[in-house]
């Protein structure tokens, strides 16, 4: 083993400024894009005021404006990766949080709320085209996660997955929330799971989406609205993990991994010691305990394995900028399940202090476990080119001193 560690960030973000997506949007949508982009920017501005603290963000950004351009500028990107010691990265949309997002509501989360299916597809495919180009700079280092608005037309999603694979993208993201549409235990999605399994495409859910309009009052009948909503943010941070785990609750119980045993899923920015083990224990409890069946019937016979067995086989955790406490999750989940991430360029991430973070957080951890969480697990899960990444790591990777 080399003295320099292969670090893979399982959670980075990249994207153009919204108006800059225009060359990647089909021309037939240009007119409506010109009309809707100013509206979307205004809404985003508003959301930033109530949801993300504008002053905090502005203050955080001011001194690092140049470096943040790595959200779309390839040269800056390489500098960022070098400084952080990252050999390869998994790339989600929505670069500088709310400033870089594809048009037509096709950003992180792919919320169906108020989305027009045809337009959301147009926005998502525009991002996918740009992302394929961006990653083509070096496919061994940049694993782009394409956006697939799965809820609308499953065949269109299947076709899009084939397009992605043909264009170097073997990871996809689907909506975390479905609102009034069919959840993921519905068999209508089977063709999508099937094409992903067949082509080795990895499905991603990224944390963040939650019913924000419910917390902040924007979806209630007008006469119900109050300007005074103390605690909305406390509710958000208390619920956000649950909304991330929810699609997997439906997929596991829905038998998706029973029918597609080789399907791979990642939940990103979801490795919290507080909720993950209890959620898994609960799923298994409901599978093995018979207390409920008195009036609910047998709801387990279509599954040949316990929920945590599917979890162990089919699901990995993107554990972004985790504190040491969450790294210790490896002892519960198995040491092959956690994949560290930097969350660049989000302010809650470790960038631009990743080197220091490594020292503070990994000190005293065994080298074997540390190597796995920092990179080797992702190399395995995503099937990356280890030899090539070791070459990169030998130039920029952190050394073993972080475990001292």
């Amino acid at each position: 083993m080399s003295e320099r560690l292969i670090v893979v960030s399982s959670d980075c973000h990249a994207g153009l400024r919204i108006a800059d997506y225009k060359p990647y949007v089909e021309t037939k949508y240009h007119e409506i894009m010109d009309q809707s982009v100013p509206l979307q920017m205004e809404m985003t501005e508003k959301a930033e005021e109530s949801f993300l603290m504008k002053e905090i963000n502005d203050e955080w950004r001011a001194p690092i404006e140049q470096e943040l351009k790595g959200a779309w500028d390839y040269k800056e990107r390489l500098k960022m990766l070098s400084n952080d010691g990252i050999a390869a990265e998994v790339i989600f949309p929505d670069g500088i949080t709310e400033m870089n997002t594809p048009p037509f509501g096709a950003g992180l989360g792919l919320s169906p709320r108020a989305a027009v299916p045809e337009l959301q597809w147009a926005g998502a495919m525009a991002h996918n085209r740009w992302l394929a180009e961006f990653c083509a700079n070096d496919l061994s280092r940049h694993i782009g996660v394409a956006s697939i608005p799965l809820l609308w037309d499953v065949q269109q999603a299947v076709d899009a997955v084939r397009w992605c694979v043909d264009n170097g993208l073997s990871s996809v993201m689907i909506p975390t929330m479905w609102d009034e549409h069919a959840p993921y235990h519905d068999r209508k999605y089977d063709p999508f799971w099937e094409v992903c399994e067949d082509l080795g495409v990895i499905i991603h859910f990224h944390s963040g989406p939650a019913p924000q309009p419910e917390y902040f009052g924007t979806n209630w009948p007008m006469e119900d609205r109050s300007d005074d909503l103390p605690g909305a943010m406390g509710v958000y941070v208390s619920e956000v993990m649950w909304w991330l785990y929810r699609p997997l609750t439906f997929m596991i119980w829905g038998g998706v991994f029973e029918r597609y045993p080789k399907l791979k899923v990642v939940m990103t920015e979801g490795g919290t010691a507080f909720m993950l083990p209890p959620w898994l224990r609960l799923l298994d409890h409901n599978y093995t305990d018979i207390q409920f069946s008195a009036k609910l019937g047998d709801f387990r016979s279509h599954l040949s394995m316990a929920p945590t067995e599917y979890f162990a086989r089919n699901i990995a955790i993107g554990a972004s900028c985790v504190p040491r406490q969450d790294i210790e999750l490896h002892s519960v989940l198995g040491e092959d399940k956690l994949m560290w991430g930097s969350d660049y360029p989000h302010p809650e991430g470790t960038w631009p202090n990743t080197a220091q973070y490594f020292k503070d957080t990994f000190s005293g951890l065994s080298e074997t476990v540390g190597r796995k969480i920092l990179g080797e697990n992702a190399v395995e899960w995503y099937g990356l080119d280890r030899a090539r990444l070791q070459e990169v790591a030998d130039e920029i990777g952190p050394d073993l001193s972080i475990f001292k």
Copy 2:
């Protein structure tokens, strides 16, 4: 201390057969009741087929048909309480699960989905009138939980609470889910919390409600529906506790207990070792940890105490027909927080085998803790007449041998 234990069931159910509510419904709604009751019965029948296993229920009921009449027949009720050794009981609506429910969608859960506000109020008040009469047989033994459809008109809810107190009902139930209406962190509900605090009225949430239409596909666009939804029930049992805790997440973060420090809340049939401690740990983590505030701002300054401190002061747990494992929760939550319940006449309850259940479940538990969980905690929380209940217990209560 007497040799015979005061047992209080914190979770029993009672209600008329739906059509029998007519004398309690205002006459102006009789015509619409005649039209809607057959529809509601048909829907209930359907729900029973997909959600509750009809054959299982029918088989369970056949030999105990007479005893189940205790859901509305007072003499049978007293027999049931005697046989179970229960001195006092907290009474929720929806007697024999789906067979006894107030009209106009005013049953357990008070779901706003597809409800007509005026009619749901009419159904709820009909039940409240009947319940007040039923409990008036012996107010020291029967604590009726009135139904308050809080989501629509807060002033109407305030007036109804006053009516309840005037009629012997000092406990109320409010909706567990609010759909598109304002959640409980909205200050529009303050007049309701205030009247409850002022009059010493205890607010209840009873487990069971969850987005069943989402699990079973009845709320999706027609073209999305599939007849094959494996796992719907597994998702239900895995999520149901979360939907019960959710209103309290909003109330705690919303500062309700900060503004109304004497307000009392019970979550009933919610004492599960699997989810309760992790949920509480998560709330406190979000209060004490500052990780998120990098971009979310300070969302804690309106709370002078940590979430679990409000929980300890303002919230009790109705722990229905719990296994021993969940009784051990007392060591986490404090031994004054758990209140046992029989869940009569639901098939998942301990009735009619409560005596045997006591022996199987409480064996080896300390008498002090056992007395609290079985009755003394409820006597305290609900302010019951201990001397009177000891008289009843001396006739019918279990003896200390259950702790042997």
